[in-house]
């Protein structure tokens, strides 16, 4: 684990995500809320996992920890080989910028910007002008958003908004997509479209995805389902031997 913590470039890291005895306790007033307790989760490169569990069991907290939006109270988080729990706020932000793409239940697009503007902004934040192997055009095409370039979020359907949000999340080719109930605000038809697209990204681009969902149909899209309860993971993750290559054959 120590050696992995020092690893800078994640390309050679064995796992996309690895948490070790991860703990997160919220301190609200005098009460301590243990939202995540002793979570050991491993996600391989190219894996698509779904996290399920009752409301308040700590799913969102875990996802925020994985993306470095929250600092854990104990334990460590290896993202592509880098232990982000030991990093400063600015360094964690840099890891998030380079390696994480978030997708939220509420889409979280900038209402004042067009679909294209939202994507451009993500590119600008990513910075250093590195040309993307997948330009906005091809991502949009893949997500069925052709011709929606200059639409503002208010002019798009929920499903389209979420697809723009997915496009924004993948435009900089992050190692990992973290999706918090991406279909939670969508009707079943749009949900299916969004899920199919996530799976396409996973299969065609080998995109690692961690998705929270309440819907077992949605969860079935993933390669593996992780159950959470009271801040802990129920399903033994080690029980699975998962090979993305095998999955692709099916």
């Amino acid at each position: 684990m120590g050696a992995m913590g020092e690893m800078k470039d994640g390309a050679s890291a064995a796992n996309a995500i690895e948490t070790v005895d991860l703990e997160m306790t919220y301190r609200s007033g005098r009460v301590d809320v243990p939202a995540v307790q002793g979570v050991n989760l491993t996600v391989r490169h190219g894996e698509f996992i779904a996290i399920m569990g009752p409301s308040g069991c700590g799913k969102s907290t875990l996802l925020h920890l994985l993306g470095g939006l929250l600092q854990p109270t104990a334990g460590s988080i290896l993202i592509d080989g880098t232990d982000i729990s030991k990093l400063s706020d600015a360094e964690r932000t840099a890891v998030r910028r380079r390696k994480i793409g978030y997708v939220f239940q509420r889409f979280n697009l900038f209402p004042t910007l067009t679909a294209k503007g939202n994507i451009e902004l993500a590119k600008k934040i990513h910075g250093n002008g590195v040309s993307n192997p997948n330009g906005v055009g091809s991502i949009f095409e893949m997500l069925g958003l052709k011709g929606k370039f200059n639409f503002r979020p208010s002019e798009l359907s929920g499903g389209e908004q979420q697809r723009v949000a997915i496009a924004r999340a993948v435009i900089n080719r992050p190692a990992i997509i973290l999706a918090d109930e991406p279909t939670g605000s969508l009707d079943s038809r749009n949900s299916r479209t969004v899920l199919r697209m996530l799976r396409d990204l996973n299969k065609k681009l080998g995109q690692t995805i961690v998705m929270i969902t309440h819907d077992s149909e949605a969860a079935s899209t993933a390669n593996r389902v992780v159950e959470m309860k009271d801040g802990r993971i129920l399903t033994p993750t080690c029980g699975y031997s998962y090979e993305p290559e095998l999955e692709r054959v099916n």
Partner: protein, 364 residues
């Protein structure tokens, strides 16, 4: 390209417009008030130099704008000064401020006054100045529709206009020194004396002689505008200008602070999204500073434009009021407006950068 900064401004046009207007107001305040002060000062210097004297003798301790000085120089000194080596001409002046007219009125001895290069050049009428006669300059004549032969009231006394002189001869209204003394109730006293050195004389030597002879009085060197400005005492003028600049910057500062402060709370969620996208604190600070710089630039440009319009209106409506706005002044207005606005945006930008991303994302 779509830009979050401009999109933000466009999404709240009223607030942006009011912020722009407030910054403009600060710039206008700075430029117009500053312009009137320096315009008046330039005007004073220009007029003082217009007579072409080399020295001005004033009572000790008196200050700028001889209007406010007492008549406390003994007129008999004229004779003493005339006898000094290197002095070519001396003319005593008793000045008074004429509230409802055009500022200063000079009581002069036309014969000695006209020995100076900036003498009264008569454009119309006859050069006579005795008793109840008055000579006014072209600007006064045009503004008040005065013609030679008419009677005008100056200092609550009726005078007959004998001539119109070329403008720029120090003041606009001239009456006889003797009459002024009677009106003023000061039989032997005058306000200032203009002194012309002999062209062959060395100015520094004459200056030294004058200082030697009249240690209790102040002697201004009027041959050089910089010397004159340095020696003219301007009580509080520099401080006043600083105050105006400070107040106008404070105005821009506070308006931007308030506008940006409300902006970041309104956009708490968006700041959370930026953070989730990996935007650094510098990126967020930069975005908010950029927005305020844009508002302040527009405000400063608007302010400069309006100030220029005000300047033109002032100088056409009130020909005697001087407003000086150089390119340097306009640039300074632009820069100070920008600096104030940027400073005002710093605290909100800091608040935004420090926001907790998870809380910001769940903000309704």
């Amino acid at each position: 390209m779509e830009n979050l900064v401009t999109a933000n401004i466009r999404s709240r046009p009223t607030r942006a417009f009011i912020s722009i207007l407030a910054v403009a107001l600060g710039v206008i305040l700075m430029l117009v008030v500053g312009g009137i002060v320096s315009g008046t000062l330039d005007d004073y210097l220009g007029r003082t130099m217009a007579l072409g004297s080399d020295f001005i003798l004033q009572p000790g301790g008196s200050s700028i704008l001889y209007a406010f000085s007492d008549a406390s120089l003994n007129q008999k000194l004229t004779g003493v000064i005339e006898e000094l080596p290197g002095v070519a001409a001396v003319t005593p002046v008793l000045s008074k401020f004429h509230a409802k007219g055009f500022g200063l009125v000079f009581g002069i001895d036309m014969e000695s006054y006209n020995r100076f290069p900036g003498r009264l050049e008569i454009l119309e009428g006859t050069a006579s100045l005795t008793g109840d006669e008055v000579i006014v300059d072209q600007a006064y004549a045009d503004a008040q529709k005065v013609k030679p032969g008419m009677t005008i009231n100056v200092l609550n006394h009726d005078f007959k206009v004998t001539a119109i002189c070329r403008p720029g001869a120090v003041v606009r209204v001239f009456i006889p020194l003797e009459t002024m003394k009677v009106l003023n109730g000061t039989p032997d006293k005058v306000t200032i004396m203009f002194i012309k050195a002999d062209p062959k004389a060395d100015l520094d030597t004459v200056y030294a002689t004058l200082r030697d002879k009249f240690p209790g009085n102040s002697i201004l060197r009027a041959s050089d505008p910089n010397l004159l400005l340095a020696e003219t005492r301007l009580p509080g003028l520099a401080e006043f200008r600083m105050l105006v600049v400070f107040v106008s910057m404070l105005l821009s500062f506070m308006v931007i602070l308030l506008a940006m402060y409300t902006t970041i709370f309104e956009r708490t969620r968006e700041i959370g999204i930026l953070k989730s996208l990996g935007a650094s604190q510098r990126f967020i600070v930069g975005m908010i500073i950029q927005e305020s710089v844009m508002i302040c630039s527009l405000g400063a440009i608007l302010g400069i434009a309006i100030s220029e319009v005000i300047r033109i209106v002032i100088i056409t409506r009130f020909p005697t009021l001087q407003v000086s706005m150089t390119v340097g002044d306009l640039l300074r207005g632009l820069i100070l407006g920008l600096v104030a606005g940027t400073l005002g945006a710093l605290y909100p930008a800091y608040k935004a950068a420090k926001m907790d991303p998870v809380k910001a994302l769940s903000y309704e």
